[in-house]
């Protein structure tokens, strides 16, 4: 057991820090061109596709090096790469399951952000129960015709390509009739409509698919075996992402302590209030434990262990922490916490004075309702932990009874 960074990793961290100090954009990236240029710059520095094998243009870097870059970027609030879905999910899926033609056609352009990708998985009636999806693909001889509706699509409006799950056989148990496709987003049959969230922002879209065309060569893996591929895709959970989440929360907590020292409440500063101090101490402990959990996952990944279902524990931990932490922020700041705009500078979340790049406490609070839902709700994570980590008996479910009857 040695929880220090190795000298090489410590040196690499210094290198990343120095590079970011030199190259971090000085203002918010407003246009798609600026975001693409930033990803290219990161790519040239060797910070993109770090985990991809070298033969596909990646850096073949260790999980620890990836985690260092992710957490150093989070530490300085650096914008992420615009093509993050392509980099984190789609590229790795193609590397494992794609044909040589698919890899040659797409991988390099994912790395360079020449083509942006999104993921067409969730549907209005297929959320946690993704396998019940209804979007269908019909064999039309030399191509497929796709119809249906997708939702919660990140990067929808800017995407050139998507990875798509669609039903190709409605007459078999639901997991066995799904195929994974590559689909061109730039065609008339696809309409992307931004979805306005309760935060007021629109990070996600709805995608309406009407008689859209998919080439025969764009099936990933085998027809009707898409569910297995989706499982791999969903399994590309980044252990390093836990440390970058730590960096984000840690920066927020540091700022919260500063704000507490400025905030006058009930005849003293919030920092003088023992109840507030207790809650800050609790958040500090919980946050440190998140870092330890991240280090433990990384340590396993360094030795080649796939985090597997154990990553459900990390996901559940950070997403539930996010909610608790932002409830704490709101309880300390009182009415100041509810302000989206107009809080005095010494109480504001960000210190940069740029409302767009420094979201308010109120925004972060509203956003905290998302992580326990996206990427598998807390309830789904608990099912995964119960079934696959603890080995508890599976629940009796109507769809399983139906599959059995089939």
């Amino acid at each position: 057991m040695d929880l220090h960074l190795s000298p090489e990793d410590a040196a690499f961290r210094e290198h990343v820090r120095a590079w970011l100090a030199e190259n971090l954009p000085r203002h918010e990236l407003h246009t798609l061109e600026e975001r693409i240029a930033w990803q290219r710059k990161l790519y040239e520095a060797g910070f993109i596709g770090m985990g991809w094998p070298k033969e596909y243009g990646g850096a073949g870097a260790r999980p620890m090096e990836q985690a260092i870059v992710a957490s150093e970027m989070a530490h300085v609030n650096a914008p992420g790469p615009v093509n993050h879905l392509g980099l984190n999910f789609i590229g790795p899926t193609l590397i494992v399951h794609g044909t040589e033609e698919q890899k040659a056609r797409h991988l390099q352009k994912i790395l360079s952000a020449e083509e942006i990708w999104c993921q067409l998985y969730s549907e209005p009636n297929a959320g946690s129960d993704l396998a019940s999806l209804r979007t269908n693909a019909v064999d039309a001889g030399d191509h497929w015709i796709v119809n249906g509706q997708k939702v919660w699509t990140t990067n929808g409006p800017i995407s050139d390509w998507a990875i798509l799950l669609a039903r190709t056989d409605p007459n078999v148990p639901k997991h066995k009739g799904i195929t994974c496709f590559i689909i061109n987003m730039r065609q008339p049959g696809i309409v992307v409509r931004p979805l306005k969230q309760l935060t007021g922002g629109s990070e996600f879209s709805e995608v309406f698919i009407t008689d859209a065309r998919v080439e025969k060569a764009d099936v990933i893996g085998e027809v009707n075996h898409g569910w297995e591929i989706a499982q791999t895709t969903l399994g590309f959970e980044r252990g390093g992402s836990i440390l970058s989440r730590f960096a984000v929360y840690s920066g927020s907590l540091e700022r919260l302590v500063q704000v507490c020292k400025s905030l006058q409440r009930n005849g003293g500063t919030a920092w003088d209030d023992p109840v507030t101090r207790q809650k800050i101490g609790q958040a500090y402990a919980e946050l440190e434990v998140l870092r330890y959990i991240g280090l433990r996952i990384l340590s396993g990944m360094e030795k080649g262990h796939n985090p597997g279902p154990e990553s459900a524990v990390a996901k559940l931990y950070y997403s539930e922490f996010d909610k608790r932490y932002h409830e704490l922020v709101m309880s300390i700041l009182g009415p100041y916490g509810t302000l989206l705009i107009g809080a005095p500078a010494e109480l504001e979340k960000g210190m940069g004075g740029d409302a767009e790049s420094d979201p308010s406490w109120a925004h972060d609070f509203l956003w905290s309702r998302a992580p326990t839902i996206f990427a598998g709700t807390s309830e789904i994570q608990k099912n995964i932990i119960g079934d696959r980590v603890l080995g508890l008996p599976k629940e009796v479910r109507a769809d399983r009874l139906k599959a059995k009857a089939q």
Binding site: M1, D2, L3, H4, L5, S6, D9, M64, L253, E254, V257, Q258, K261, W271, P274, R277, Q278, I280, G281, Q282, Y284, A285, E286, E288, V289, Y292, I293, L295, R296, L298, S299, G300, E302, K303, E310, V313, L316, Y317, E379, Q381, K382, N383, I385, G386, D387, V389, L390, G391, L392, P393, K394, E395, V396
Partner: protein, 378 residues
Amino acid sequence: MDFDFSPEQVMLRDQARDFLVNESPMSLVRQMMDDERGYSSDVWRQMADLGLLSVAIPEEYGGLGMGMVEHALILEQIGRTLCPGPYLATTVLAATAILNGGTDAQKQQYLSAIASGDLIGTFALLEDVIAWDASGVHAEATPDNGSYRLNGRKLFVPFANVAQFIIVPARIGGPDGDVSLFLVDHATPGMTVTPLVSLDLTEKTSQIEFANAMVPAACVLGQPGNGAAVIDAVVQRAAVAAAAEMYGAARASLDMSVEYAKTREQFGQPIGSFQAVKHKLADMLLDAEAAFAATYYAAWAQDDHGDEAATAAHVAKAYVNEAARKVCGEAIQAHGGIGFTWEYDLHLYFKRAKHYEALYGDTQFHREKLAQHAGAAH
């Protein structure tokens, strides 16, 4: 960066686990609940032979010279099996105080006797006022003809009923004097040990009255006036040690609950298939895994002797206090009625966790320390 145990550490852990499972079964635990002494000298002797008592004592004093990680691995197994006795009192409280505050001669004398299993010791920190540093010490030591006269009252002293020596903090030179530590022999006249009864009947604890108890000057641990720093070191290490035991108790409760949920049937199916139960057990696993990470990170930080040692100890105790309480409590809920019976072993873990929750810094103490740490950076 490596969060795994070494092969040697795994071997030590497994050896300790096998020994405790076989030699300290629940029947012995229950027997010791009613036993005045509260431990088996036979088991103690075997623990000494296996090196479990000397694991963290330096080799020059007859120990194995390993660190807090190894110590925590053993304490975790004690928590899992609820092995009763003065293990933490002797190997953590007394040994840490002597190692941090003692003269070389005292270390030779006491540590080697602890390592060999010949000497049981404890530490009498608390008084009527609960404080996890020297500020709560009001006992006084008055110089008297080359000796000291001790007066005062100590509370919640673990296993003082069987300890052959007790380390006693007291102030020399009146209420404003510095705190010194005294190595007090159990047969000292003027010292009265009265048992208190904890809800955890395996954890013997006592009140000690000092009424003009005479202690030779040679029994000052190290130099007079060095008590405050030693107390801090003892509390810090004991916090990690308690976290390890509590984690062990929580893990055992979780394991029992998972097994129960797989086999107990209601409404025609195992209760573990119901989401209400499954999700409860998933939450318990999360708490246990997080408690594991907190405990062993803190143990490693102790051995690393870096800036993080104190902070990580505060994190571990603050976190595991809550996590172990939740896991051990929810285990009773997951079992239903059987979990509330005396006959079933589950309540023993629940009580061990609760007993340690209050000791070596309660949650409030450690959270306040962390708030100070968070606030100091700015």
